[in-house]
């Protein structure tokens, strides 16, 4: 169980998150909201990549606020970045084996790496020995990033906009990755998404705007308040929050 207590974050004199308090004890939680609402900041604070200006974070009853990224990773938090990082010289297998290799011998590590690659729609034979450098496209890097986070199989996996940059790969496959992770780990998945199809499989949805949690409830209840308008081919979802519309504040 993850608990955030009055988390605030400010940078360059701007309040990005304001007194966010949440308890996450569901299996699949989606975070949505307009650009600049603080979604990525919130996930980075959970991972320890950013330190909150104030507030505490608890994981299964332990205060992890002061713990480093490494310590949090070893306590069972994984993170898939929105913009995957490239490495000259390191191969896909090096990182996948690092992600999923704990307690496995060489052969099992390799087999597991191949399996997770196939799950994200990449032929293991063609990709396992590729370098994670500029020779891979943005879409390929993104799938490998998702595979790495999923391969760790930890009790909490954070995905920052996994759908962004996923081009030709079927969206259904991406959802299958989350479903499999959901089934195989007894952990929690938190996903930042603008995609209705991802929001639709969440147990709960957090709606953030201007650094404030405006809604955090069962999926259907939040979805009632969100008006989603999908633009085919762009993966973009224009979100209107009914309350804002009613107040005449317009759209995001």
């Amino acid at each position: 169980m993850l608990k955030l207590e009055n988390i605030s974050f400010a940078a360059d004199g701007k309040e990005i998150l304001q007194n966010v308090s949440l308890t996450v004890d569901d299996r699949f939680v989606a975070i949505t909201g307009p650009n600049g609402s603080g979604k990525s900041t919130l996930l980075k604070i959970i991972m320890g990549i950013l330190q909150p200006t104030s507030g505490r974070i608890w994981l299964d009853g332990e205060d992890i606020t002061e713990l480093s990224i490494t310590e949090r990773a070893n306590r069972g938090i994984s993170f898939a970045f929105q913009q995957p990082v490239r490495f000259k010289g390191l191969k896909v297998r090096d990182l996948l084996e690092l992600a999923g290799g704990k307690g496995k011998d060489g052969g099992a590590r390799f087999a597991h790496a191949c399996e997770v690659l196939s799950e994200v729609g990449l032929c293991a034979k063609d990709y396992i020995n590729r370098e994670l450098d500029d020779t891979l496209s943005g879409g390929e890097m993104k799938r490998i990033e998702i595979a790495m986070a999923a391969a760790r199989g930890t009790k909490m996996t954070l995905f920052d906009e996994p759908e962004a940059g996923i081009d030709l790969w079927s969206f259904q496959s991406l959802i299958q990755v989350f479903e499999k992770l959901y089934q195989e780990t007894s952990g929690t998945i938190m996903i930042i998404s603008h995609q209705e199809r991802i929001l639709n499989i969440a147990d709960k949805i957090i709606y953030l705007k201007d650094g404030v949690v405006l809604e955090y409830d069962e999926r259907d209840r939040v979805m009632e308040h969100l008006e989603l308008d999908i633009h085919p081919g762009t993966c973009a979802v224009l979100q209107k929050y009914q309350e804002n519309c009613a107040l005449g504040n317009g759209v995001r």
């Binding site: 990224i69 490494t70 990773a73 990082v85 490495f87 000259k88 010289g89 390191l90 690092l98 992600a99």
Partner: protein, 305 residues
């Protein structure tokens, strides 16, 4: 051979036992073991220190190991090894030098390797430099490699020096005839106050010749590295040079790519980059459970892989 010498041999040539095929092991200035085969002969030079390695035309899938190890503090030597590779061969040559210096005097190995590669032959050359020891005496190496590739010949060189050598000047010069090709992968890591300089110069004199020179360096602590990569295109040829370096701590790196074309059909490219390890790379590996130091080591290991 004692344990120190055996360990040096393992480090520079990955040898636990005597290799299969032809070999000449030079230990503390003497030939310690030698084997020749029906198609590969090794002859001691009479006018200067060193050996001639003569590979008969048509020799395929054979290897020659010629490691040099020095465990005697204060030993200084200059060795000339010449390789005469006949036409239509396909061979692997494993060289390398390991110095263990636990004494107070400098140990030094300077070597000149000359390759004359016959028409259509294919050569893979692996050279590794290694140094160890806690003595105040320095470990010094200055290898020079001179290559002449005949029509249609190809050579691939993998050279590496991962720490341990205090001062080095490595010179590699190659001349390429028509349709010949050369690939050089050079890797270097320096630390402490080590100094390393590398000069690679390739002259492409024949039509259809190609070269690909890739240098990767990591300079840690107060070490200094300088790499000069030069390609001369004197025919209808294509050449590519890449110097890529990671700088750390108070290290200094100087990278100089140089291209010269004397023929309108020469196509030459160079790329050079120096930078520190990106913070986001460290962060990514830390989210996978590595400490910052372990992440740094993994990034460097990959970069020099």
């Amino acid at each position: 051979m004692d344990e120190i010498q055996k360990n040096l041999l393992k480090e520079v040539a990955a040898l636990d036992t005597l290799p299969v095929g032809a070999y000449n092991i030079r230990s503390n200035g003497q030939s310690a073991a030698r084997n020749t085969t029906a198609s590969i002969d090794i002859v001691t030079k009479e006018d200067k220190p060193g050996i001639d390695i003569i590979i008969k035309p048509g020799t395929k899938n054979q290897s020659v190991h010629i490691p040099v190890i020095i465990s005697q503090s204060g030993l200084k030597e200059m060795v000339y090894n010449d390789f005469f590779i006949g036409e239509d061969c396909d061979v692997t040559i494993v060289a390398g030098c390991g110095i263990s210096n636990c004494g107070g005097e400098d140990s030094r190995h300077d070597g000149v390797h000359s390759f004359y590669v016959g028409k259509g032959s294919k050569v893979r050359y692996i050279e590794k430099h290694y140094g160890e020891g806690t003595g105040r005496g320095k470990r010094l190496m200055n290898p020079t490699t001179v290559i002449e590739l005949s029509e249609g010949a190809s050579m691939e060189l993998e050279t590496s020096q991962i720490g341990g050598i205090d001062d080095t000047l490595r010179v590699t010069k190659a001349k390429l005839a028509g349709n010949s090709s050369i690939i050089i992968h050079d890797k270097i890591l320096t630390e402490g106050d080590q100094q390393a300089k590398a000069e690679i110069a390739v002259e492409m004199d024949g039509n259809g010749s190609t070269c690909d020179l890739i240098s990767r360096g990591v300079a840690k602590e107060k070490s200094f590295q300088e790499v000069v990569i030069g390609i001369d295109g004197n025919a209808a040829c294509s050449g590519h040079a890449e110097c890529d370096s990671i700088i750390m701590d108070e290290g200094v790196i100087v990278a100089t790519p140089r291209l010269k074309a004397t023929n309108v059909d020469a196509s030459l490219i160079h790329e050079a980059a120096i930078g520190k390890i990106a913070g986001e790379q460290l962060m990514k590996l830390m989210t996978m459970g590595l400490s910052e130091k372990e992440a740094e080591e993994m990034i460097i290991r990959g970069f020099l892989q």
